[in-house]
Symmetry: C2
Subunit: 379 residues, 2 copies
């Protein structure tokens, strides 16, 4: 097998406008390093800081944003030489991917970059944990999304509903996807996914695949003319970006049906305002107008649920609830303060599945329709 | 909200032949309990034993099977009364699901069953961990698959390729599924999924979604006329059952591309021979003719991979490797003994992603095509 000559892939892929822009940013970065070297100056670049102190909540845009802080990374600095080299290496591999019209996972980027430096026993990277933040550095330096660098994340998440999309040239009618649904890919940028036709009036995003299945089986999206998605818990980037695009481009309201626990609150927080870790992406991922449809702390009484569905809060839950209560985007909202306080006062949390105690289809036939009709949700 | 009268769903779903058969088994079970009571005898039933001692490898069928051992479960036995009641309760909820034409996850079954018994402070179930084995008891007692009881598992896994299916009335052309793919549902029984048209000549099953994406992006399935699936690691039941159906009904060979590590071996083992825990399902899930295409321990040398892709085996890996080596279905196969020995001798494991060190598309353009052409795989 080793004898067969390696195929040389001379063809370069047709580049999209976005690809050309990303490539030009990458070349600019490399160019600045080369220029410094040619002028006998120390090559360096500034990496916007992703530390917590450089993250703030923008009240008017209602998203978590990065500040203007940055850190200099220099080649001729013993503490920074390795990460300087790693940054250039990751940039160069992304350039290669874009030029070939191919994509890679963060794990695959790690393997693409990892090698032993000739004449030494030093590896460019030893662990993926070293490589992941470098990918984020490149993203943030170039003000680009990971997906534009042709790097993808996992692809949990499924969609079904009254929308037709074009995915890489294939027309996919999401109202004809059976019980399985369309698997939301990790890269959903406009050059990959186009919205061809949409009759849906809103999006119902549910937390888990199991709840999604209940809604799909009951053809909720057909009766209520909507799009139904889930993200397998904390939604991966592809799902967040797709929801954001559907919301912004098609003006579809997004309603979230999540568990009545700190984890459900947090998922909502990330969908709505962006995450602290990935603050630089908020502008293109966050949905400040998303609404929290439930489950709510008041539902235990309102829906007359039996005691048996209560799950007692543990210390970790209480701690997380208090942290979330103090998030700047929750702390000024009375309804959210009340919601979290009531959960703490209840002393228990509730899963969406708890509504099954009423009836297997209570959630699709009564709970959600009633909330939508009455406009009973949290902002 | 509490005031609105609960909708009564009087309509019962159109039952399939399979549904009628499952219902009749459930009724028979319940009937035997009632009959005992009416005759003033102690209600009881025999639950086939799922303990390791009742599991054996059937050499001629080449699957892991259950023996004939069973345990009696009696109502008038203090140690068994609760599990007796739980078994009847789960059976009755499954009956309800089938009659309504609805499905539920194991979590949802737990919620359907969990309640405080009137006049006591005793719950039917406290934790889901109590409920899951009872569901398995019902399956095995009735000799039915969980899916036939309308209980579903998670739905990781995606499919694309030259096949058209009918999923719940929707015709889905898996060769027109873009970058996302068709999300394999958790219930893929013939009354839900029909194979409408298939041009594909084989199935390539890969371990991870990230590798799947590489193959889909390179349109491997188009060039090699096949079906491409992944199961997000250890494939969930829906994926295993679908592969088994595709293999048996359409006579498609199944080739597995998994990591060169004990976990990859184990995934293969489960796909091929069934699992020890769920031995009673092997006959309908296992694919004794599945083939292990790679990665192989010899690939490090054969493919001239750089040292940097080696991942050292830890003690746990070595222990697992030796366990797997001694599985009855591996211990008489010289090629597998050699494969596992060589991994232990190498002292390292390899992920499929390691092939990227050669080229991003080495796996799709050289590795797999060459193996297929040369028939170079393990049985």
């Amino acid at each position: 097998m080793a004898k067969k000559p390696k195929k040389v892939d001379a063809k370069s892929a047709a580049l999209t406008t976005k690809d050309k822009k990303t490539l030009s940013s990458l070349r600019e970065l490399a160019g600045s390093v080369v220029q410094s070297a040619e002028r006998s100056r120390a090559p360096q670049f500034d990496v916007p800081s992703r530390s917590l102190s450089n993250v703030k909540f923008n009240q008017s845009r209602r998203i978590i944003e990065m500040g203007s802080g940055s850190n200099r990374r220099e080649l001729f600095n013993l503490a920074q030489a390795k990460s300087f080299m790693q940054t250039v290496l990751v940039g160069s591999k992304c350039k290669g991917l874009i030029e070939q019209g191919k994509t890679a996972s963060i794990r695959q980027i790690f393997y693409l970059c990892k090698h032993t430096i000739k004449g030494t026993s030093e590896n460019t990277f030893d662990q993926q944990e070293e490589c992941d933040p470098i990918i984020e550095d490149v993203e943030v330096m170039l003000n680009t999304l990971r997906e534009e660098l042709h790097v993808f994340a996992s692809n949990r998440g499924t969609m079904v509903g009254n929308i037709t999309i074009n995915d890489s040239g294939d027309v996919i009618d999401c109202s004809r996807m059976g019980s399985g649904g369309y698997s939301i890919p990790s890269i959903v940028e406009p050059d990959i996914i186009e919205f061809t036709k949409c009759d849906a009036k809103f999006i119902l995003h549910v937390e888990k695949d199991t709840v999604w299945r209940r809604f799909n089986e009951d053809k909720f999206w057909k009766e209520h003319n909507c799009i139904l998605t889930h993200g397998g818990g904390q939604p991966p980037r592809g799902v967040r970006r797709l929801l954001s695009r559907l919301h912004n481009e098609l003006k579809l309201p997004v309603y979230c049906l999540l568990d009545n626990d700190p984890w459900g609150y947090y998922i909502y927080s990330v969908l709505k305002q962006g995450s602290i870790n990935l603050a630089y992406e908020s502008a293109r991922m966050a949905i400040p107008d998303a609404r929290y449809l439930g489950l709510r702390s008041k539902d235990f009484k309102d829906c007359e649920l039996p005691d048996s569905v209560q799950i007692l809060l543990n210390d970790q839950d209480k701690k997380r609830a208090n942290q979330i209560k103090n998030y700047p985007w929750f702390e000024k909202k009375k309804a959210w303060q009340k919601e979290i306080d009531l959960m703490l006062q209840n002393g228990f949390k509730l899963e969406v599945e708890a509504l099954i105690a009423k009836d297997i289809s209570y959630v699709t036939e009564e709970y959600v329709p009633q909330r939508l009709e009455e406009g009973d949700f949290l902002d």
